[in-house]
């Protein structure tokens, strides 16, 4: 079976953070070059680090990317923001 790629770059981290509710859904579409302002980006990383029990550095450090690569549930960590998980 295809292996899901580990999170090893800012782009992948951006998709991950958007997939699990830390960034707006728009960030999930690698085609558009939606710019994130720095504050939003740092906040998103800090939120994830806090939720996952990591040191809250706001940096996309190795520890953070390692945790982003762990197998997990596909439901968003932060619910109620954006499109949620809806059956159309």
């Amino acid at each position: 079976a295809a292996q899901s790629a580990p999170v090893s770059s800012t782009t992948k981290a951006e998709i991950y953070l958007s997939q699990f509710g830390y960034l707006p859904a728009s960030a999930r579409n690698p085609e558009n070059s939606g710019l994130q302002d720095k504050r939003t980006w740092v906040n998103a990383i800090q939120e994830f680090q806090s939720f996952a029990g990591l040191n809250i550095t706001g940096e996309l450090d190795e520890e953070t990317m390692k945790l982003m690569s762990l197998p997990r549930c596909g439901v968003r960590d932060r619910v109620g923001t954006g499109d949620g998980r809806s059956k159309r």
Binding site: A1, A2, S4, R72, C73, G74, V75, V79, R85, K87
Partner: protein, 398 residues
């Protein structure tokens, strides 16, 4: 914990598995899924009934990559599964690119992931307690599963605490027209305080401790018996008789009960196949009419006790019982012959029970523990929380 904001208005929910995983046997998947739902019934009045067709509350599917809900799976690793909250339908989808396994450290444990996803199907969001079942990250295979207090508080905040008599989930034929009956209430009596000799003690796969005596069973708390007990064994484990000789739960998550020449295997509270079978058939080398059985924490092997002897059973070895057995129980320094029960308790200690007393065993010293008050101690006081019973046996001339 965190709640999504929606929940089911009913507590008797139905489910069906409309697409099975390609690598597991269907009835094994059925049993694991039932066990995963049962996690959420333990502390609430939620019940889950499997149907094989027609409308249900929760539909379960094992699918790969894009599967129609706009949230494609990503191959092995990464996202393992996802589920919809009640307001969005409650369904649960599992990535069938994963190597789903049962009772094994290999691959991804189906029971653990399913129990997590059904938390979402019931309205729970992710928890930031890393020990909680509802934490988002898969923690690897956990042979002894125990729902975290965080998860219990979460599910009870949506569906309340357990009040009903034990109604085993999936105990009814897969229809929604369940007989409107409640099992006969067995009046709570304190006879266990007057006569605290028990037939057997064991832990359930979810870490609960049960004492069996005659045709009744008691669910134990950390220091006494839970309200509403005793109940009838036949209601808790449909198909199981009373007066059980011995019982234990093995690391495969299954519970084995022994009586006379026969034994039964259960997955949670459901019989796990066609039982009873003969002990000689499933446990070659082990005698009938046992006194006690347990899985010893020291080596994870299964020990059987009868009269003045004990046997060690290792299912991974051929033969499972070495020719050097049986050996004398006196090897377990300070433990008496003719036991009633043996238990590796959730605190990691090994306990032996005989008559109205019990012994705590020190695994490292391989001898009965020394403590104050000394062992043996009265079972009634320390295990059943009986008031006005002595807490020590000092001066007891028996």
């Amino acid at each position: 914990y965190a709640l999504q904001g929606s929940r089911w208005r009913v507590k008797n929910l139905t489910y069906k598995i409309s697409k099975y995983p390609k690598r597991l046997k269907r009835n094994d998947v059925d049993a694991e899924i039932a066990r995963a739902f049962a996690v959420w019934s333990e502390d609430t009045d939620l019940t889950f009934t499997r149907k094989t067709s027609g409308p249900v509350h929760i539909e379960i599917k094992f699918v790969e990559s894009e599967h129609g809900d706009g949230d494609a799976f990503d191959g092995q690793g990464g996202t393992l599964a996802h589920a919809f909250f009640p307001v969005f339908g409650g369904d649960a989808h599992f990535d069938d690119a994963e190597l789903w396994t049962i009772g094994s450290p290999r691959g991804t444990n189906l029971f653990q992931v399913a129990a997590h996803e059904f938390g979402h199907s019931l309205g729970l969001s992710h928890s930031d307690q890393s020990s909680a079942l509802m934490a988002p990250f898969y923690r690897g295979f956990e042979p002894v599963f125990k729902l975290d207090e965080d998860d219990k508080a979460a599910i009870q905040s949506l569906y309340g605490r357990k009040t009903s008599q034990l109604t085993p989930t999936n105990a009814f034929p897969p229809t929604t027209h369940r007989p409107s009956y409640t099992p006969p209430k067995v009046p709570l009596d304190d006879s266990i305080c007057k006569d605290s000799k028990i037939d057997t003690l064991f832990n359930s796969p979810t870490g609960e401790t049960y004492a069996f005596k005659g045709d009744k069973y008691y669910k134990l708390t950390t220091d006494s018996v839970e309200d509403g007990y005793p109940k009838l064994i036949s209601k808790g484990w449909p198909g199981l008789p009373g007066n059980i000789d011995a019982a234990f739960t093995y690391k495969n998550g299954k519970t084995y009960f022994f009586k006379g020449t026969q034994y039964w295997r259960y997955q949670g509270t459901q019989m796990d196949g066609a039982y009873p079978k003969e002990i000689s058939e499933g446990f070659t080398g082990i005698p009938d009419h046992l006194d006690a059985a347990m899985v010893w924490g020291g080596n994870g092997k299964i020990y059987f006790f009868k009269g003045s002897k004990f046997w060690r059973f290792d299912p991974s070895k051929r033969p499972p019982v070495k020719a050097t057995y049986p050996k004398p129980i006196s090897n377990w320094e300070g433990v008496p012959n003719n036991l009633d029960a043996a238990l590796r308790y959730t605190n990691g200690y090994t306990y032996f029970f005989k008559g109205d007393k019990y012994y705590r065993f020190h695994d490292a010293r391989f001898a009965v523990d020394t403590a104050t008050p000394a062992f043996p101690r009265p079972t009634a006081h320390w295990w059943f929380g009986c008031k006005n019973t002595p807490s020590s046996t000092v001066g007891d001339h028996q």
